[in-house]
């Protein structure tokens, strides 16, 4: 400050005061802006932010309904739900995914496959903030370790879910089918609302057919979560409606017996209760453990199953299409008698071969040298091929097709058996369409003994046998016996479509049944060994299906042919003759002869059902009563 001048302190003070006033005005106006901003946020837009805040903290979670249980006819549990703990991640909340996965890898054993599947799901389209499972079926130790390190793992949760469990594993896999994770195609088919909390869907069998019934209705809960997605409390809950429990006609003991009888071999057994069409046993051996498929089978295990020569994944009972061979003869006998192609008394001379015209091709009888003079009954009992060649030619393919159609061949005649194939019932039109050839008389000859183009599944054979046992009246094969809740079985099952077979002379049924009884009990019956010593009368028919055809007149020695090339042994039958309670179809692949291998298997099934497991006529699932908890 230069000398000689004096500061005008009063002026400086006034200057400061003016400036201070300006600042005060600035302060007041800026504070007003803040207050106005607060007013805008807290009063004017309060509703918007309240909604945002609630949306932040309250999440609607869907609650998967527990899947309905499956029982056999005696109340034995076939499919239940078991709590399984899995570790899931919410990608939006995890932060550094690589780091989180590395950390989880240290805490639990996470396989390459788990990681790969997880990454795949990560890239798929999904709902935001949806938890993606990384590994299933955690052990107690792993759950504990996760709990300890929980604070270091935002967005990582241990989730408990009910997962399908099949306590009888292999026994029921083919009959029940199984559930598995919902895949992309299924995702487009299902109702996204009802399946919001569901991870599993029926993939095959009963699980697939009754998916709607078993699934139930989704529930909801409003939960309060923190910013890391951790559920803190449930605010409101609407419980899911559990899926309906169902009861099958199946008898687990019969199913187990069927598996035991076929143990070590490949084959199928179908047992039907003729009066109801209920499937008592539906066995395809070898089976597989359906539990493997529920949470996702490993590639390795799947390859082992799918590449096995025994084809355990192949459901022979529903999808194995075999030439029915001689097991078709009872149905053909019905056709021959009713169409007038033959009579009960007509006898023929069987020289051991059949020719359409002299010097033409010779169709051999299975018995070298032939059966001599035989009538229809003897031809069934001894399985004379020549009689049926002649009868078939007499009927013609159209008549045969007409009758066999009524027995359910060439179609899936089942009500609720998912995945059943329809076999092949040849006709002129079919051959023209598929092979672009006319129907030759020789084709008819082959068809006369169930060979040639004709194919049928064990289930179809059992069904046709059951129709004969019922003397022409139809009961379509079915699995469902009872359902909980307020719906009746009739509401749930598809409509029955087959009409009873009416014959010119209803007595024809008794004649054919007696002929089948002669197979078991006659002096020359092919299965008399299997029928011996029974306390009840049974009816049946043996058969063999050629795995490869032999040239005309070629010698046949089963011993020399490798086991895999041996004929399939087949048998159809029912018991007791007068009041049939069980009809059975048996096929043992490469089993050799129907009489030696397949018939004793059927006999064991008859004995078990008629003698050991005498039926108690009581339903375990009170059908249509709305009562469902009393037996639990």
């Amino acid at each position: 400050m230069p000398w000689g001048e004096f500061k005008d302190t009063a002026a400086e003070r006034r200057l400061f005061q003016r400036r201070a006033m300006a600042m005060l005005i600035l302060v007041l106006s800026l504070l007003s802006i803040l207050i106005a901003r607060m007013y805008q946020l807290q009063v004017v837009e309060h509703e918007i932010y309240t909604t945002l805040s609630d949306k932040n903290r309250v999440q609607v979670q869907s609650v998967a309904p527990p899947r309905g249980l499956v029982y056999d006819r005696n109340g034995m549990l076939l499919a239940e739900n078991r709590p399984v703990f899995s570790v899931t991640l919410v990608p939006e909340r995890v932060g550094d995914m690589g780091q989180a996965l590395a950390k989880l890898g240290q805490l639990l054993s996470v396989s390459e496959e788990d990681l790969e599947r997880f990454r795949r799901r990560l890239e798929e389209r999904r709902r935001p903030f949806q938890a993606l499972p990384l590994r299933y079926d955690l052990t107690e130790q792993e759950i504990a370790r996760l709990a300890v390190h929980r604070h270091e793992l935002p967005g990582v949760e241990v989730a408990a879910e009910l997962v399908r469990y099949y306590p009888h594993g292999e026994l029921t896999a083919h009959a029940l089918g199984y559930v598995g994770r919902i895949n992309r195609q299924e995702l487009q088919r299902i109702d996204p609302v009802n399946y919001a909390g569901t991870n599993y869907i029926g993939k095959s069998g009963v699980e697939r057919f009754y998916e709607k019934l078993l699934h139930g209705k989704v529930g909801y809960q409003n939960v309060e979560t923190n910013a890391r997605g951790r559920t803190l409390r449930v605010l409101e809950r609407q419980n899911p409606v559990p899926g309906e429990d169902i009861e099958l006609h199946m008898d687990l003991r019969m199913q187990r017996l069927a598996h035991k009888l076929l143990d070590g071999r490949r084959g199928a057994i179908v047992a039907i209760e003729p009066s109801t069409g209920g499937l008592l046993a539906l066995a395809s051996v070898p089976g597989f453990d359906a539990n493997l498929f529920v949470t996702g089978i490993s590639v390795e295990a799947y390859r082992e199953l799918s590449e096995s020569r025994d084809m355990p994944l192949f459901n022979r009972a529903l999808r194995g299409q075999y030439p029915p061979g001689s097991t078709l003869k009872p149905m053909l006998a019905v056709a021959g008698l009713d169409s007038g192609a033959t009579t009960r008394d007509k006898t023929i001379w069987d020289p051991g071969y059949f020719q359409l015209k002299s010097n033409g091709r010779r169709w051999r009888d299975w018995k070298r040298g032939g059966h001599g003079w035989v009538d229809l009954k003897a031809s069934v009992a001894q399985s004379c091929d020549i009689y049926f060649y002649e009868m078939a030619v007499e009927m013609g393919v159209d008549t045969i097709h007409h009758y066999l159609t009524q027995f359910g061949f060439g179609e899936d005649a089942t009500l609720d058996v998912s995945g059943a194939l329809s076999g092949l019932l040849p006709s002129r039109d079919w051959k023209r369409a598929v092979h672009n050839q006319p129907w030759y008389p020789g084709d008819t000859v082959n068809l006369g003994i169930g060979q040639g183009f004709m194919l049928a599944t064990p289930l179809q054979l059992a069904t046709a046998t059951s129709v004969i046992a019922n003397r022409g009246s139809w009961s379509e094969p079915r699995l469902l016996k009872g359902v909980s809740g307020d719906r009746s079985v009739e509401d749930v099952l598809p409509q029955e479509t087959h009409q009873s077979i009416t014959l010119e002379n209803p007595d024809t049924w008794e004649f054919v049944v007696e002929a089948m009884a002669a197979v078991m009990h006659g002096a020359k019956g092919t299965a008399r060994g299997a029928g011996r010593g029974a306390s009840y009368r049974m009816a049946g028919k043996t058969g063999t299906a050629q795995v490869f055809s032999l040239a005309e007149d070629e010698e046949y020695d089963a011993e020399e042919i490798r086991e895999r090339l041996r004929d399939h042994a087949m048998f159809v039958g029912f018991a007791p003759v007068d009041n049939p309670r069980i009809a059975v179809a048996v096929i043992v692949e490469n089993g050799g002869s129907g009489s030696g291998t397949a018939a004793p298997v059927a006999r064991a099934m008859f004995d078990a059902w008629l003698l050991d497991y005498a039926e108690t006529e009581e339903s375990v699932v009170a059908s249509g009563t709305g009562v469902k908890d009393w037996w639990r």
């Binding site: 201070a20 006033m21 302060v27 807290q42």
Partner: protein, 381 residues
Amino acid sequence: MAVSELFDQPENESLSGPGRRFWSVLHIDPILLFLLVILVAGGLVVLYSGADQNMAVVKAQGIRMGVALIVMLVFAQLDPAVFRRWAPWLYAAGVLALAAVLLFGAGAKGAQRWLALPGLPRFQPSELMKLVVPMMAAWYLSRRFLPPRLRYVAVSLLIVLLPMAMIILQPDLGTSLLVGASGIFVIFFAGMSWKLISAFFGLVSVSAPLMWFFVMQDYQKQRVLTLLDPQSDPLGAGWNIIQSKTAIGSGGLDGKGWLQGTQSHLEFLPESHTDFIVAVLAEEFGFIGMVCLLGLYLLIILRCLYIAALAQDSFSRLLAGALTMTFFIYIFVNVGMVSGLLPVVGVPLPLISYGGTSSVTLMAAFGVLMSIHTHRRMISA
């Protein structure tokens, strides 16, 4: 002039009276002390909620506030002449310390702010500059005729800009803005002409784009972009603003109640006990709570401006006025950023946010104000 009459009190009047003697001996301004204690106590209550009922945090903050109050009382004992004499030396030491920080400072979150000298506790020289820069500017300008000539304004601007630039380089935008503001306010109070002020703002608006391209760091640009459109990155940079606005807005007129704020307690609100604590208060005590808080701040500012107006010499006036306005800038920037009006810069809510350094500096400033107010001498008119 009606405006100036508000401050135009007889200089000796407030020095008399029986009650005044007691406080004058202790060099305490009871009104300011009372307002500050209410603010600090209320702040601890909000902090208890913002820190998710963590008593340890509240205790630590309580101790810090106690220390800060003692610092304030110590500063109040010193004569303003002491500050004036020491100002150039403090300024020189401060600039040296800032240079040291740039050369070998300790970092946190990608910015070097701390200086760890052997034998001394870690401290932020930039924080001290909030006091030293206005002191220096006031020292320089109070020696000139006021309003100052253009070249003195230029020199004092340099005095302010040097440390400001050094702090920006750390980089610490928030503190540098506060340091700069504290110095600029001195120049403004000294009587910088309105023409210059308008020219200054013109310069700022022109240089803003240049700052954007040459000075601002990526994270700072991101903050500005986020302010303009928080929804552009709702889970990343926009998260803080969306969540704090949601917290404030959902508080409504009277709030969700103490400890009942879902945004903060469910961890949606980030930094809920430090920079964003005002959102906790707004959520739990609503619009009414915010009006009370801002009202309390206004009372403190009014009291401080009153003290400044009564100050007896230019140095004290300029310093008191600038410190007061710096305090206000804290409030405006913090509440403005939490409510989405300003970009997110690291400025705490004064005397409420958890954290020691700024509280001590602020209390020291109030100590200076008390010193100015209680060291006045009887002047014969």
